[in-house]
Amino acid sequence: MRFAPEKDPELWLETAAIIAAARPDVRFVLAGYGELAEPILRTTRALGLSERVALLGPRTDVGAIYAVMDVFLMTSRFEGTPNVLIEAQAAGVPVVAPLVGGVGEAMRDGVTGRLVTERAADKLAEAVVGVLDDPRWRKRAARQGPKFVASQFKLRRKIDRTIGFYNYGRAAPASEFAALTGRLRAYFQSPAAFWVKWLCRRRLPAPSDQPVLIPRQVNLR
């Protein structure tokens, strides 16, 4: 987390305090840096969470940090499409986040995490405790998270689209058309197409008055 006002680390700590009161076995991890690092330390002490909150500072080994988590909590005021949420789900960690900005697009509510409509400490804590209390759901969410991320946030697709925007209205349509015709030509010249046509010819009934449905290959992949 970047310790900045828009990430609202104060609310994160308030939520942690409520969770800590409800579940004495829970420990908290906060990794990041920023202008609010000192106030965070003070609030942690003031809330009596010093023994239970690990402040790791800036870290790059985020995979190791996600590996020790049972649930990921976000408390931002504003968000685009938060990378951390995507990373946490990719690592199989269920997420809890408020419905702000594009957060709703970056997770699947009830499947890979819990979306909290009211950005308040008690509501967020309730969602986190709910996740912690339901190990079966957590296990399911841990399986669904990576699938969701793989289906929605593939780098290859992102790059395809970025290049599409670079070329939009220029060479892209022509080259896409050329690529499509090339693929079609390759398909119809392939041995697979020959055998498909041969099988279709063999199985078709003799010409009659009955309408004949000619199978067409539409799958080009």
Binding site: F78, G102, K158, T162, G169, R170
Partner: protein
Amino acid sequence: MPALRGKAKHVLMVTSTLARGGCERQMLATTTGLLRRGYTVAIFALAKASPGEPTFEAEFAALGVDMSCATGCDDMTAPGEMAADEYGLGRFMPLIGHFSVVRLGAAVGQAIRRFRPAVVHCWSEPATVIAGFPASALGVERFLLQLVNVSPIQRGAPEFSLYRDAYLLLLRNPDVVLLNISRTNARALEQMARGPRGHRQDPLQRVSARRHGHRQAAPDRRFPGADRAVAGAHRRRADALRPRERPRAVA
């Protein structure tokens, strides 16, 4: 100013700093993917990260990407007297207090002339505005203004109206593509940028939000040439603007 003839598959990425953040992470991923597809990418940062602040410089260096920084090559502090305002950025000086927007814009212009990119890809504010104007004035073939973070327009920040004016000017250039990483934020930006009802002269009235990566819609036949202008998170219909609405200074 004659249009710059860019080198094919050369992309100049412009960002505020290379400090570790979500936007920079997206930029790193995009750069990695573009390099694999045979593109040549250069990075231009408007400012250096604060001392001690973790950055992505090592990751970009490992990719072999050329990196330069405006504040590393000249004095970019806000001057007492206005420097030569080559790209019309003078009115946007209040966007940044401690740096001169005009000087930063001039540095971006130099980077564009030096690297001669076919595409200038600007990441989040204020880089979108500071690099957008030089790219537009120099006639770069295509430039993307990618909003990854929440825009000040949505946050209701004090610089709201300046960003709004800047985008209104930039979006009139048919080579600009405004992208928003989130569909929700794109819609919110569109609604807020539209202003009060009945404000008919506003070209953003004709902008509709599209999330980066969503399937492009069929061309809108109500506007001639609109199919050429559809792109990205926002759907521009610059071609549909009446001639008197087209700015002369920009594009």
